[in-house]
Every structure is written in C-alpha cells, then in structure tokens.
Amino acid sequence: MLNLTDKFLELVRLAATSLPPDVEKALRESVEKEEPSSASRGALETILKNVELAREKSTPICQDTGTPIFYVHYPQGWSTIELKAQIREAVVEATKLTYLRPNAVNSVTGKNTGDNTGDEHYPTIHFEEMEGNTLSVDLMLKGGGCENVGAQYKLPNSKLDAGRDLEGVRRVVLDAVYQAQGKGCAPGILGVAIGGDRGSSFIASKETLLRQLDDKNPDAELAALEDTLFEQANQLGIGPMGFGGETTVLGAKVKAVHRLPASYFVSISYMCWAYRRRKMTVIGDNVIYA
C-alpha cells in the first residue's frame, strides 16, 4: 500500500491555512450587507484580511485548529490500520510545523499530549470502504468555541412548542442560533440532523457540513427548510461576532436519518465562519486537493 503520510500532511496544512473558496465567497458577499463603518462590517473586513494573510503566510486561520475529523472513503482491500497510522503521523508532523495547535487534552489528568494524538477517538477518523480504486479523504477542523454552542433537542419540546415535524425542527434550530449568539464565531453555518440516536444524530449533523454552501438539498422539503432557516436565522440580527447586523449565518444544511419510534432528536452542529474543510482524492499516483 502507498505511504500517503506527506499527502495527508498537505491536506492538514491546506485545511488549517486556506479557507475554502465557497466560504470565502459567502463572507465577501456578506460584507456588503453590513452598514458602512459598523462594528459588524469591521469584523468581516478583519476576517477577510486574516483569511488572505493566513493563506499567504501558510499559517493557521484560527489558533484553535480544532478537532481534526477525517472522513476516509477507501478502496476495497486497503488497510485501515495503515491508513490510520499514516494519518496520525501526519497530524503529529503538522503539529510540529505549527499548522495545528496541540489540542488533545487528557480529560482526567488535564495533561495535553502535545502532538494532537490521544486515544482512539482523537483525531477522529471515520472509515468507509468503497467500490472502485479511488481514495477520497475529507478533513474538517472543528474548533471548540463553535462546538460548545452546538445543541441537541429531544422533540416534542413543550417550552418551544416544538412537535415532531419540520415545523418543530425549525423552532428548535432558531432557538439554538439565538442561544449561541456570537459565541460560536458568527457568522456560522448550521449542520442539522433530524433523527438517529444521540450519537449518530450528531455524527450526521457534522457530515452535512461537508456539503458546498451553494448546493441544493435534493429533498424538496428539506431544501425549503434550509432556505427558511437561513432567512430566519439572519433575521435574528445577532450579526458577525454577535455585534448585531445582517449576517448571522452563512448557510444551513439539513439531513434526515432514520430514528426509533420513541426518539426524535434534532442535533445542531454550529460551524464557525472559519469553516475549515478540504478534500483530497487519490487515483493511482495522482493526488488532487479541493
């Protein structure tokens, strides 16, 4: 099997230092919506300056380089033991090169391992075997500030008058955006999962963040819900950094997964504006980054 450690290292570098084009475009469009010389417009201008500088200097966009979450789709017969070892080695190297901050903290002793490897859950790696001979790896770096404002609701929720339907979903998602205020580094992106158990629901809410900002949900009902969430979350007026303003979220992505008859979870993963996700595809000797 190929040794792809260097290629994984490049994936990490790219994700940490270069904001994806769709996110940058959405931020640029948002600047024009904010009032001239307002604090919220100033925040967006600073954000864009930082995006350019980080790319130019190849240094982290945000100092919280987050939990590295890898989604690996690998060809039949490849060894996940080897892929995992290579990914972990790349993460250690990326930490040495200061593309990543040492982020793995032992929850009992409080000790930071210093190299971004912890137990089997850190870094997080999801493996899925695929037909064909292409390896594709998505990497998301999810910071702690935005992860902390994520939320999971169990419907029905009488306080929010939210029943087990898409109207109920709308109500709890808007509540989550309100609760988050600017603390998750608004403008954010909402990854929403409906259904699942508590664990699979949160996993699905993150998977949906791998979608492009300007794509359309193939499910018409969910597409309509995404549009409503985007529009109404922005009406809340929380604005960039919570300074007030027009841009509270850059997008909303919703995924429905099967659930038990007894459970109806709505999980919201809030992604900060520093929406760091990159993809690497390996076909034969060719490695393509996007």
Partner: protein
C-alpha cells in the same frame, strides 16, 4: 482609532464607551480556563495551598496584571524546542467560560481590561463598573492577523498546563479590539441578546 497604553489609567477606562475601536500597546498576559481556575483556587478562594512554582509565578504576574490586561487566548506558538518563542496564530477564545472567576480576578489584581470574544455576563459587567474595567472584544478566528500585533514573547509561565493554557507574557503593538462592555454598565452583548430574543419570540409566535 484610539491608542491605549498598558497599564491603563482609571480615567482612560472611564472614557471608553461600547462601540469604541481601540488599539492596545504594552505588556499583557494570556490566561484562559486553567489559569483562571488556578488563580481562583490557589490565591483567591485559597482552596488549595501553593505548590511548586505557584507563589513565584503569582508574584510575577501580579505586577503585570496591576492596571493591566488579560487575554483569553490559547495560541499556536513556534520555537517550542528552542525556547525562541514566536506567536504564529493568536485569536481570542470564548470568554464566557471564565464568567465564574472573572469578576473576582479583576478585583483581586486591579485588572483593567479583559480581552476575549463572545462577551461576558452580569458579574463581569458589575466588576467593570466597580474596578473600573472594560471588556475588549477581539475578532474571533482572526488569528494570523492578530499574531502580527505580538511583537515579542517576553516569557512563559505554567507551560505544564499545555501550550494553549499556559501564561504567555507578550509585548504587543497596535493590538486591535472593540469595547463591547464598558465601565458604565453598557454591554453590546446584552443589547443584542435582548433584541434577538424579541425577534425569536415573533418568529416562534
């Protein structure tokens, strides 16, 4: 844009109003979750006795915090092997986690400024009025840009807390922030919260 030099006088603090954009210049410390808990438990509530270098570090940081500023930040730092430290990326972390400690820490050290993101709550706002002090909001995620304002890393304490949680002593120039909580009881965060709550209620009506 107003230029402030650390230490900051009470008069200067009182002249600041929410919405003011200012730059900070001088020596400041980083301190976040582990540092606030350590200060609180060891020197304010005295739940645990100082051990190791605790007392020594306390005396050192006390001088910088008197009239000074603390920055909620867990940086990316180069030069960890050589000790020739350089800040690579250094944006603010979410401040609300320090709410249980911040007011007492401000009073204990006569701390004039807290830099972070996301704002803080009632106890800190009250301390801003009493000490007096202000909350400076840095732009979350603008880490490479903000690191340019860190001209020199003067030292580090408690590196055993880990790189993000250590106390980094910094010389900063033109460090850009916005006042979002002032010493007169105003908080942009409270205003935005109340306004957005009304809108939420109407969207859920």
């Amino acid at each position: 844009m107003q230029k402030l030099t650390i230490p900051i006088s009470d008069d200067h603090i009182r002249s600041l109003k929410v919405g003011d954009s200012v730059t900070l210049n001088g020596t400041m410390l980083t301190g976040r979750d582990a540092v606030h808990k350590w200060i609180f438990d060891t020197f304010i509530e005295k739940k645990r006795a100082p051990e190791g270098d605790d007392q020594e570090v306390y005396e050192a940081i006390k001088q910088i915090l008197e009239g000074g500023v603390i920055y909620h930040c867990g940086p990316v730092v180069a030069g960890l092997d050589s000790g020739d430290y350089k800040f690579v990326a250094a944006g603010p972390t979410t401040s609300t986690r320090e709410e249980p400690y911040q007011a007492r820490v401000m009073q204990h050290f006569n701390l004039k400024g807290v830099i972070g993101k996301g704002g803080m709550a009632g106890n800190t706002l009250a301390a801003c009025r009493d000490v007096p002090g202000v909350y400076f909001h840095a732009i979350g995620g603008a880490a490479t840009l903000i690191a340019q304002s860190v001209k020199e890393v003067l030292g580090v304490h408690k590196l055993d807390f880990g790189v993000p949680e250590a106390i980094w002593v910094l010389q900063v120039e033109e460090f850009p922030v916005v006042v979002t909580m002032d010493s007169h009881g105003s908080s942009i965060h409270d205003e935005v919260d109340q306004k957005s709550k009304k809108i939420l209620d109407s969207l859920l009506a």
